[in-house]
Structures are given as C-alpha cells and as structure tokens.
C-alpha cells in the first residue's frame, strides 16, 4: 500500500466530518472556502492543502465520516430499496434535497407544489439527477472516464455550431493525465487514440483496460466493420472499450516504469478492499467494494493533512458580496442539526478566496439566490444548462449473450462522436449496457412480474426462462451531444423553497432539434445494428411520458444523462461568459466557480474526467492567486 504522509492513502481521519464546529469555522479567515465536498471540491481542497493553505469545505450532506460502516449502510439501503434509482442508497434529507429520476413530473405553475426538489413547469421534464452527500455525484456516477475530442473545443470554428472553448485539447492534456492518475483510469492508449485524441509519447494509462464483456464481443461480431454514410462521409464502426475510473490490472509501464498502485476502499481503518474490480455488475450507484473511484478517495487525502477542514450538514445559502468592490465577503450557510429536524443555525465564513464546487445546478442556484445575476455582466448565470440527451434502444438477441456479466458498461461505439456531420446534427457515443434493459424497462424486476403474473411460471421453469430472457437482453444507450442554449435554464422562484427556506432550483430544459436530428439518426442506426445481430427490436417510446419529444413526426423518449453542465460557462470575456479559462469569475475577483458548470460544451464524453482535469488546472491558478493575495499561513500540526 502506497504511503501518503506516513499513513495509508485511503484512511479517512476518524471524526473529521464532525470535529470542526460551524461556530469555529466562522471565526477568523480561511485561505480558501470551498462549497461542496464532491469531486471538484475534493480535488481543489487536496491541491490547496498540499500547497499549505488552510481550507474549509462546506458540505450540505449528512455529517458522517466516510468509513466502511457508512458506505455499507448506503449499500444495504440500496439493496433493500424497491426502486433502485441513483439516489436510493441515501436517506431522505429534507434539508439538502436532491432530484430523483422517479420524482420527475411537471409542476403546474398555477398550483405550485413542493413535493420534489427540481421544479419543472414544462411539458418536457428532465429526469436528470445529482447527489448531495459527502462525495457528491461521484457517489452515484458510473465511472466512465472519456476525454473530450480535440474538435469538441472548437465546435464553432469547425462546424459553426455551439461555442468554442477558451482552451484547447492541448491546454488541458497534461491535466487530463493528472485526472487519470487521481481517478485511477483503466484503458489502453491504442484504444483511445481516435478522432484526433492524442497522448504524449510513451504515455500509458494507470491501469490496463477492463476486458470487453462477452456481450460486447457478441455485438462486435455484428458491428465491427459496419459502414455508415453520414453527410457525405463514410464511417466504419467498431466496438471499443471505454476508459473507466475503476481499478483493474495496474500497468507496470505507468509513469516511466514506476507502475501504479490502485486506491481501494476508504475507511477510518485499514480495510484493504476494492483494489480490483470484481465484476459485481453493480457499478451504479455504488460499487460494492469501492473499486470504482469516488471522491472520498481524494477527500481522505485532503483531510488527513490537518489544514483542510470540513463542516458537514452545512448548506450554503448566500454568497455575501461587498457592494463597493464586488468582492465576495463571505459565505453564509445553514447548519442543520439532523436529517430529521429543520432546526438550523446560520453562520458566515470568510476566506481569502471562495470556490463554488457544488455542481452545475447548485452553483447556479446559490448565485441566483444571492442576487448575483444583477452583478453579472454576461447575465449568463444559470443559462446554457446542458446534459447529455440519452436515447435508449433495446432488443432481444437470438442467443444468450451473457448480459448481467461484467461491469455496467465496458464497451461501445465511439466512431460517431466526431466528424463533419456535426455541422448539421449532433454526434453521439453508444453504450452497450451489460446490465440489460433495466434503464429502459425496469428489467429484471419487470421480467419477473411478467413471467410470474402473466405467464404463471414458477420454480425451475421460471428460473430457466428468466435466465434465458435476461441474458439475451441488449440495451444500446445513445449519448447524444447537446449544445449550449441560453433558454435551457436554472432559475429560482420565491414560491419554491426547501425545508431550510433555501430557494429550490427551477429548471427549464428542452431538447434542441440539432440533438433530435442526431437522435433520429441514432434510432435508425440501432435498427440496422439489431438487424445485423438478428436481434428482435423491442424499443417502444411513450408519447405521453414527461420525456417525450417529437421530431419530424416521430416520438422519442429522451432521458437525462446526469451530466449536468454549463450554468456558468467559461469564455474569452465578461460579456460572453461567467468565468475565464481558469474558472475565475469575471465579476468577483476572489471567486472561482469550479465544476462542469464552466464547460461551454460537453461533446460526447461523460463530463467527470474533464471536470476533474479543469479542477486540477484551476487549483494551480488558485494557488497562484493565493500566493499573490497573501503569504501562506504557517500550518501547525
């Protein structure tokens, strides 16, 4: 086990989640105050902590240490839950609510109701989610860790679509490597060097790729070599393995032959678990052994140094702004007593620099609730909300193909992520789901109900039929690019408040035609692939669902990807963006907004790796900022 400051890398200091009182935190001035203990917040905290700064993290979630007992309580709640959605491991918390996909339905603006956290008033509603517990959305993410394509950074220039980034692939490349080390990415360069993605000579990923599942190989037999014509270009498809932030076989050639030591389960004592994926096929929401990265692995390192502290059950409610110089003067938060009580005490903490890392929707919500749009020159806070649009297609293969084996998703088709067709329609990646039709139909539970209640099967027959049916299920999930659109928004509305009186996020999100053109193409492609595989197409779309979208006379269901981004996009000047390329606020000198909200586009890669790379990059800038602003404090241990 690799040592970190003389202790195990994965030891979470016992009591760290509760030992700093809110009152203590509110005394004096911290070097940095971070809102949110998820992936971005943990990375920034750890980096600033390493640089010797005194850092305070405010976390809205429950005040429990990240120990194995807590993690296992999440797991056992998940195992016992009837509906196993992304949030099912977590206890209901009225004081820091989170959206649940199962809650999704439009709220009538004339008769407002407070049943759900995410307020939506349109006919189309997104069932997207993010998680508000210590560790943030890394406590439910799947663990795919794709880089963005070089062309994703220049969409406007290349294809006259979307927005350019103020950064390019090469600017971010070194930070991608840092993120791949921190998250522990398993992949091979030979698989990932496509559509212009490049790596420094000799680079290898920390761990070898996860093997393609038998299902992937089955699909590959039909797909590999398949040709697709699109906008005058021909593309050849193949099944490719995805890079994953999940422990595999370490690559001995990593870091010039030093190798890589996988980071296992986090706890307050040495547990030695999760150094390898065991193929539980239960990656989402939680890996049973913590072989999948979650930001507790970074947070544990950060908290152990002693100069990084955390206050939990602390919901940031207002960013205090000095009216004279527009600088942030403090963060006001509500420290609630328990999940079962709405009692709270309000405190304000001060720092030399403030970093909002609460994810796209919460960062925007907090700033809007603090009246910061009035001070914004771009007026873009909460605008350009993005998420990947997912179109699900599913079919029944002629033979058992091992569905339910392997991790949730090991391979897919990535050849249509980029290309000239993006001038007119969205690119997409295709996930081959090793967990069957679950996402689309509720399988295997729905299969069971069908076989028992409708077909009257039991005993051996039931077991055989169920096994045979499920192991033939093929779900292709198309993850479709969705460009920034000012009218996709997060706002706040005085009518909608949570238990602590904080304004809830109101979301208005529509799927643009550019994306739907990609979806329509994806639907046709799925038909072709099913035909090649001899699979029976079982896809149906419900036009009465909240997720129904009509495009050229056809109805589709577009579901959320939980890849929320874009509510405080980065750009080249204060008029076209909320932050600069370093995620530094244009309007408030001592404020950074670090997270996917800064991304001006999301391309066709799951956002976490890029967000992590951006967090590393910004952390380096914040260190420079702090160095200029003040001499580092002496850290007493």
């Amino acid at each position: 086990m690799m040592s970190y400051d003389g202790t195990d890398q994965v030891i979470f200091p016992a009591g760290a989640a509760t030992q700093t009182s809110a009152a203590e935190a509110a005394q004096g001035v911290w070097d940095a105050v971070i809102v949110g203990g998820g992936m971005a917040g943990s990375i920034v905290a750890e980096q600033l902590g390493q640089a010797g700064y005194r850092v305070l993290i405010l976390e809205a979630g429950p005040g429990k240490d990240m120990d194995l007992a807590e993690y296992e309580s999440y797991l056992s709640r998940f195992y016992g839950a009837v509906v196993k959605d992304n949030q099912s491991p977590y206890p209901f918390n009225p004081n820091a609510r989170m959206p649940r996909s199962t809650d999704t339905m439009p709220v009538d603006p004339n008769t407002p109701r407070d049943d759900f956290y995410l307020v939506q008033q349109d006919k189309y509603c997104t069932d997207t989610t993010f998680t508000r517990v210590l560790g943030g959305t890394s406590m439910h993410w799947e663990g795919k860790a794709l880089r963005m394509l070089p062309e994703d950074f220049d969409l406007r220039t290349k294809y006259n679509q979307g927005l350019n980034w103020p950064l390019n692939y090469d600017d971010l490349e070194p930070y991608y490597r840092k993120a791949e080390a921190e998250l522990g990415v398993a992949a091979e360069v030979e698989d990932q060097a496509y559509l212009g993605m490049h790596f420094p000579k000799g680079y290898v990923f920390p761990m070898h790729r996860m093997p393609l599942s038998y299902l992937d190989q089955t699909v590959a037999r039909g797909v590999d070599g398949m040709r697709v014509n699109l906008a005058d270009d021909e593309y050849t498809l193949q099944v490719r393995s995805f890079p994953q932030a999940r422990n595999g076989v370490p690559n001995a050639a990593y870091d010039g032959g030093k190798g890589f030591v996988p980071v296992g389960a986090v706890s307050t004592s040495q547990v030695e678990e999760g150094e390898r994926c065991q193929g539980n096929t239960n990656c989402v929401p939680l890996c049973p052994v913590q072989a999948k990265y979650h930001s507790g692995k970074t947070l544990a390192k950060a908290l152990r140094k002693g100069n990084v502290k955390i206050v939990t059950q602390a919901v940031a409610s207002k960013v205090e702004i000095n009216d004279h110089n527009q600088r942030v003067a403090g963060i006001t938060f509500k420290k609630y007593e328990s999940l079962g009580s709405e009692k709270y005490t309000e405190y304000t903490v001060e720092g030399a620099v403030y970093i909002l890392c609460a994810h796209a929707i919460e960062n925007a919500r907090l700033m809007l609730a603090s009246g910061m749009q009035d001070m914004s020159r771009s007026k873009l806070i909460g605008r350009n909300l993005m998420d990947h649009a997912y179109l699900l297609t599913w079919g029944l293969l002629p033979e058992p193909a091992g569905t339910m084996r392997g991790t949730t998703c090991t391979g897919g088709i990535t050849d249509l992520r980029g290309g000239r067709f993006r001038a007119t329609q969205a690119g997409f990646g295709v996930d081959i789901h090793n967990d069957g039709w679950g996402w689309a139909t509720g399988s295997p539970y729905t299969d069971l109900v069908e076989l028992v209640d409708r077909q009257g099967l039991r005993g051996r027959d039931l077991r055989r039929t169920l096994g045979n049916q499920i192991s033939r299920q093929l779900l292709l999930a198309f993850m479709i690019d969705l460009l920034p659109d000012r009218n996709n928004t997060v706002t706040v509305d005085e009518r909608y408040k949570d238990a602590l009186g904080n304004l809830k996020p109101v979301v208005s999100f529509k799927i643009p035609p550019y994306t739907m053109k990609g979806a329509a193409f994806a639907r046709k492609l799925a038909t072709d692939i099913f035909e090649k595989l001899g699979a029976e197409d079982r896809t149906t779309y419900d036009q009465n669902s909240y997720s129904a979208v009509e495009y050229e006379g056809q109805w589709y269901n577009i579901v959320g990807g939980n890849h929320l981004a874009g509510t405080h996009i980065m750009g080249t000047d204060p008029a076209n963006s909320v932050v600069d390329r370093d995620q530094h606020s244009w309007d408030h000198d001592n404020l950074y907004l670090v997270g996917p909200g800064s991304m001006p586009s999301i391309g066709t890669s799951n956002i976490s790796l890029t967000m992590a790379a951006l967090a590393f990059r910004s952390a380096a800038h914040i260190v420079k900022y702090l160095r200029a602003a003040k001499a580092p404090a002496v850290v007493r241990s």
Binding site: M1, S3, G6, T7, D8, I11, A14, D67, L68, A69, E72, S76, H208, V249, P250, A252, T268, S269, Q270, V271, E272, E273, E275, R276, Q278, G279
Partner: protein
C-alpha cells in the same frame, strides 16, 4: 525471523534440492490449511451483520492466498512443481499446528471467541530465543498418536507427514519438531542460502525455474500485500520473509514490511473492540471503535463431516457439491501455479460461487444435532 543472524548458523536441515521441494510443498500445505477455518468463520457471520469482523477475516484469508502464491513462486523459481491436488493436501480437520512446547488444534468452527483465539495463535507463534529453542522434542504420546511417546512406525509416520493434519515436523527426524511455523520458514531460508552458496561455488544456481511460471502482481487480486516475483535468492528470501512476518508484524511492530497491519493485530482488533492506527504500540489500539456481535453467527457444527449430514439428503448433496467445487477450485489454482497464471483472475469470481455455496450450507439446521447448522466439510 526470530533468531538473530549473529549466531553461528548450524548445519542446515535442507541439504538437497529435493529436500527443499519437500519443505516448500509442506509450506503450501500449511498456508492452505488456514483457509478453510478462516472461510468457515467468515461465512458463518450472518449477512448484514458483523461488518468489522467480516472485513478483518476476509483480508487475512485473502492474504493467506497471497502466501500460498508466494510459496508457489519460490517453489517454481527453484525448479519445483507445486501440487495442490495430492491426496492429503487438504487436512482432515481438526489439524494441529506447533505453538512453542505445545500443539494446538485448528478446527473448522463458526466465528466465536474460541475461533478468534485460535486465529490469534495461528498468526503469532512464540519466538525462539536461542538456536536450541528452535526445535522441541516431539511428544507423540501427548498427541495420542503412540502410547509410549516414540515415533510411530515408518508407514504411519509417512502417512501423517502427508496428511496435513500435523504441521511442524522435521522431515527425517521424527523425534523433534519446529517450535513454530516461523522456525519452519527460517529453515527453508537457511536451506536456500546453503544450496545457493553451494551451487554458486560450482558456477551454477538453484534458481533454474521457468520465469513464465511465476505469478506476477497483475494476476493476483490483492487484498493488501503484493505478490513478489521470485527470480533469485533475494526475492526468494523477501517472499518467504513476507509470508512469515505478515502474520506477526515486523521487528515487534504491528505492521509488516509492506505497511500492512499484521494478521495477529488485525484479529486482536476484534478482541479489543478497537482498530489500530499508525503510530500505535502493540496491544494498545487507539483507532476507531469496532463492534462484534458474537451472536449474529450461524451455529455451524464444528469440524462437520459428511457423515453428520446423512439424515439431511438435500444438505448432503449441497455439501458434496461444495466439496466438488472446492476440489475444482484447487485444481484451477494449481494450474495457475503451473504455467497459467491468468487462471487466478478467474478465481475471483469462483470465490463468489464458493461464498454462495457456503452461505447456502450454513443457513440450514441439521437433523439430529440440536442447535447446530450445516457447513462445508472440506473433505475432498
């Protein structure tokens, strides 16, 4: 190791490469022999309870697999061939391990204070103070194996030596035995040094094994501790030292050379109700509190045998299936140690099957054994 290196090394017991193979085979047998007791205790814990105990036992069990692999690597490196499929390789429990002047019995038992006590004994053999203390006279009468204390007749002795139910015997010297397992490994290290010195004088080496037979780190599903690829004397000594010290800690400390909490102290945490943390002294853990629920355990009948299941045909069939599975599992591990290391990756999910199979057995009460449940018999 327990005896200081400054003492003059006496004549090593291992004088030929064949003797070294024999010792290393016994090492394999010994490392494996702890697995069934650990697994039985582990899976006797009621699901959803005793998380702390579960993780502690699980880590030690995984590391016993590591030890098995390390010994196999040494054996392969010196040109031997591991064989986990020989008759008698798996003990007919209870088996006996040496502990200073006494032997102690190792039973297949559900998790309990007695089981924990045995585990502590397994992992921390008493240290020999002097060269003479490394061996103790063999009291055959005390073990009930002969009436007069003299060694059994050669045929019976050979059978006992092969059976895996009596560890620590000094091959060829039935009147004495090693004081502890640590001394047994110390003897192997001395033997390797002796044989390698001899070989080098003749311009040769004993490390003639095919490197492709080594299990390298990428093939071992680590639970803590890393596989050492054995290519020569230094790596062989490092591997065997890790096997010996991972149980009891290094230089009297609570951690081993790979910064893993030693097995003895892992188990002791369950006794003390507290986790160790960095900087702690032996016997004084100061980390987070842990909880053991001694009652949340299936009452598996100790040292259960197939004959105990005769009145429960369905359990009998499940137990037979388990034993068959276990035999296949050992066969696969054996193939992994004989040139197909990638088979170890498959062993990961085979362990899940084993868990499911054991879970099924331990939930079932036995007919005619009031208050006792079934369990795996490990009769192959």
């Amino acid at each position: 190791m327990s005896v200081s290196e400054s003492e003059p090394a006496p004549d090593p017991k291992i004088k030929t490469i064949e003797e070294l193979y024999d010792y290393l085979y016994k090492g394999l047998q010994l490392e494996h022999a702890t697995l069934p007791p650990y697994l039985t205790a582990l899976y006797s814990l009621r699901p959803g309870t005793n998380s702390d105990a579960r993780h502690v036992i699980r880590v030690v069990a995984v590391e016993e697999m590591l030890h098995l692999t390390l010994v196999a690597n040494v054996l392969n490196a010196v040109g031997g061939k591991p064989d986990l499929t020989k008759p008698g390789f798996v003990p007919n429990y209870p088996t006996r391990l040496p502990c200073g002047p006494d032997y102690f019995d190792v039973h297949l038992r559900p998790f309990s204070r007695e089981a924990l006590d045995t585990f502590l004994k397994i992992e921390k053999p008493p240290e020999a103070a002097t060269e003479q203390d490394r061996f103790v006279p063999m009291d055959w009468a005390a073990l009930g194996l002969t009436s007069d204390g003299a060694p059994p007749p050669p045929e019976k002795l050979a059978q006992l030596e092969e059976s895996g139910t009596l560890f620590g015997l000094v091959p060829g010297e039935p009147s004495k035995r090693f004081a502890s397992i640590g001394e047994f490994y110390e003897e192997i290290i001395r033997g390797i040094n002796h044989l390698e010195d001899q070989a080098r004088q003749a311009g040769k080496t004993i490390f003639t094994g095919d490197p492709a037979r080594q299990v390298t780190p990428e093939y071992f599903y680590s639970g803590g501790g890393d596989v050492i690829e054995v290519t020569g004397r230094d790596s062989a000594v490092a591997a065997l030292t890790l096997v010996a010290e991972q149980g009891e800690g290094l230089y009297g400390g609570i951690y081993d050379s790979q910064d893993e909490l030693a097995h003895y102290y892992r188990f002791q945490q369950l006794e003390k109700g507290r986790y160790y943390q960095k900087g702690d002294e032996p016997n004084e853990p100061s980390g987070p509190i842990l909880h053991v629920d001694w009652d949340a355990v299936y009452p598996v009948k100790p040292d259960i045998k197939m004959v105990d299941l005769s009145r429960d045909p369905e359990i009998l069939a499940a137990a037979a299936e388990f034993n068959q599975f276990y035999a296949t599992f050992l066969t696969n591990i054996n193939l992994a140690y004989n040139g197909q290391p990638d088979l170890l990756l498959k062993a990961v999910w085979e362990m899940f099957r084993m868990r499911d199979s054991m879970n099924r057995l331990v939930r079932n009460p036995l007919t005619g054994h009031a208050g006792k449940n079934a369990g795996p018999t490990f009769e192959l």
